[in-house]
Symmetry: C5
Subunit: 97 residues, 5 copies
């Protein structure tokens, strides 16, 4: 899984019928040490109700179809967790307010 | 999923019989903030009737076989949505005319 | 799918029994605008009878097992089409002789 | 599979219900010759009880669902082995204490 | 598939029970034209008895589970062929002794 920040949304009215009603988040991958954005973006299906500026991790590939929200859908990316904290070598690099 | 622009088509008369009758779009990946092309291209099966210059997102890998058009076909990329707008940090980086 | 040129072959007499009798092509990925090689190579199973110097596109990952030739085989890459032409923004970047 | 070092953990209280109770490790990919970190990180499900500073290798993609711990779960990365030693050209580049 | 050279082995006594008894090779990806190593490494399950310094190609992703040795196992990489020769534009870039 890869750590990222929710930075926006992508909206489409004309899409595959199988993905009607799903929210598409624009994620920016982050460096989990500096917590800076990497200017590398992915469109991901939300399975946990993540909101703007939250740090999340998402799953890629076929496993993105293994959440309750995304089962059987044409998706290669799903947000599966909102991060509370990241610990590295005994200290926090990130802690949710 | 990854954001891209439809920049052309790829035509083949000699191909796997399973992909007869499918349209192959040439997509250029874009930076969703500046909306500039990244000079990085992919050939994708169209599942939504996307046309030239439209901003779309496509799904990669096994999930590309999960649209009504691409089921059971040897494809690793399918366009699944034509984008209306991209919102980042409260403003639009892109809005379809 | 990714555009590439057939630049050679890879031959092995000692291999997984499931891939006996299959032709392995050496592909060089190309830039579909300039048509130049990218010095990036992949070994791909041929499912369409592609020959030297032909422009093709290949499918990667699990979908490489979805051609008639490659079904059930341990492959992550299969050539599925010989390209007739590539059209970008209304002009040809490539046209087969 | 890819060699990495366990450098931390990622904790989430709000996540897909299918991944409750699983430990998420923060891994840093390493160069297996110099054993230096590559400043490239991945969040991986632990299937072997790996701890801080251990050298491991992890499996990516759909195969990450093929351990006893991760079966049926939305994961694209699982630690499947703690490394005892890495041998290259007849000498050890790494040997566990 | 990707061309690589067998440069070593990775040994683990503490691993997922499903991968007991399998040999893990350390592979270095090569440029198939110059045959030089790319300093890019992967840990791969051996399905063909490849030995030190041999040129092989390996399959990645779910298809790595489609050899007789790796079926049902948590692997994303399997060596499926020892290369006899690589031919490019009519000449050999590599020929096994």
């Amino acid at each position: 899984m890869v750590l990222a920040k929710v930075v926006g949304t992508v909206v489409s009215s004309h899409k595959s019928e199988k993905i009607e009603g799903i929210k598409f988040l624009l994620l920016e991958k982050i460096d989990p040490i500096t917590m800076k954005g990497k200017n590398d973006f992915v469109v991901s299906m939300d399975s946990v109700g993540a909101g703007p500026d939250e740090i999340v991790f998402y799953v890629s590939g076929s496993s993105a179809r293994f959440t309750n929200v995304t089962e059987g859908k044409p998706t290669d990316s799903a947000v599966i967790a909102i991060v509370d904290f990241i610990e590295k070598d005994g200290s926090y690099t990130y802690k949710k307010d």
